[in-house]
Symmetry: C2
Subunit: 257 residues, 2 copies
């Protein structure tokens, strides 16, 4: 007999967005405001007990999310469709829960993910725009979009990305598979959208910095193969500022939302 | 003989943008941060002497400008095309000067203007979006765009707008001419773009509030003629929040930019 009651443990996945400007990244840290800590406290106020909140990735200080997925287990009987509204009443205006879904107990925001997408936004104009402060990288020179697209194609497929990450987190392997890397122009905004089965620490920002190096003529698209082979971080482009980076999609091995 | 020299007085017009969130409006006030005061001090640091800064309108606390025009007279010899860059180095990131132009000494940012445009941005969705906090009005119910467009058309042309303003500034006449009032849908954003030969205090926000009343069925488009005739502020819709309002264009009796 299977009866849904208050004592049953449910696994709840949340789809949320946040402006990361005022947070020291996603992951909880003692004495520093983080998105995870702020969201966890809001959820605990709603469900009435301590929870363990699992986020789909450790975004850095100042990085944003248009789409982020987190999950937690609870025995609260609150109807799933009421959860976003209940949590949002406890959240500041720079974090918002869009949707909640009950998922199998085996679902894990990191380990169940099959694909993540980040979008890097560059405001490309002679002078700064106040509305993109903290929301985009300011770049005051024209960009060579065509050569950036040729360089982006060099990253597609399975590679050892150890030359394109910052050291600072333990991972079993530095091999990742890039599914897409698109360079789109929308007026004065240039959006670099990259999807992969996973990202190493600072990898998305290093890939973007390397495309900027290509646009600036410091390296050619043909040099990228050699940077992969060297495995040397110093051969790749710089890590671009956090404020331009947005997590924009996460896909899972089951339909969640 | 006409020689341009340092002692010659020039009249300089600036095209700028600002995020009004952190300012008590445009107009200078003692002991409160305003856009005019912040910009004036930046200009004075560049030209090396006191100036009188004239802005094209008194935007309220929290109101933004994508396009705003101000002018000042100076005997500084700084080349006009260097002025935006020089001023921007002295400005915080929420104000940015895009362009400078030398205009006739008779040019006045308010009195020479022939047309102004405001755009009101509504974020229309079930839950809030962190990226539109302080940048749009949050409206959690569907809007009836077609009836709002019918109502907007009732405002076009020359009318006495005294029912659609807040009392609080001295004006010779409350008659204004509306040139356009468009309701556009861009995804989850509804943009109400209104242009006129001038706006009374809170007039743009009251016109938007009245369109929301129409969408909510509280009044009909046909009622608007009667509200004009009554001249009574209480018959119109509410003054919507400042954060959704943007000055988006100003035109003059001469080409400036």
């Amino acid at each position: 007999m299977s009866v849904q009651c208050a004592k049953n443990t449910r696994n709840i996945a949340l789809r949320l967005a946040y402006d990361g400007t005022n947070y020291h990244g996603w992951q909880e840290q003692s004495n520093l405001p983080t998105v995870a800590q702020t969201l966890r406290k809001a959820i605990e106020a709603v469900v009435g007990s301590r929870i363990n909140l699992i986020g789909c990735g450790r975004t850095d200080t100042g990085v944003h999310a248009e789409t982020y997925v987190a999950n937690f287990q609870t025995s609260s009987s609150i109807p799933t469709d009421r959860i976003p509204y209940a949590i949002n009443t406890k959240l500041p205006s720079d974090i918002s829960v869009y949707e909640a879904a009950e998922v199998p107990l085996s679902f894990h925001s990191v380990f169940s993910s099959t694909k993540k997408e980040y979008t890097y936004v560059i405001y490309c104009n002679r002078v700064k725009n106040p509305f993109y402060h903290n929301r985009a990288m300011f770049y005051p020179k024209p960009l060579d979009i065509e050569i950036m697209r040729r360089a982006a194609a060099e990253f597609l497929g399975e590679h050892d990305f150890r030359a394109f990450r910052s050291v600072g987190s333990n991972v079993k392997t530095t091999v990742r598979t890039l599914f897409s890397f698109d360079v789109d122009v929308e007026g004065e905004l240039v959006k670099l959208r990259v999807s992969a089965n996973g990202f190493l620490y600072n990898m998305a920002r290093t890939l973007v910095g390397t495309l900027l190096y290509v646009s600036e003529g410091k390296i050619t698209p043909e040099d990228i193969r050699g940077i992969f082979e060297s495995g040397e971080r110093m051969n790749a482009g710089p890590t671009v500022p956090a404020c331009g980076l947005y997590m924009t999609d996460v896909l899972y091995n089951i339909p969640v939302f």
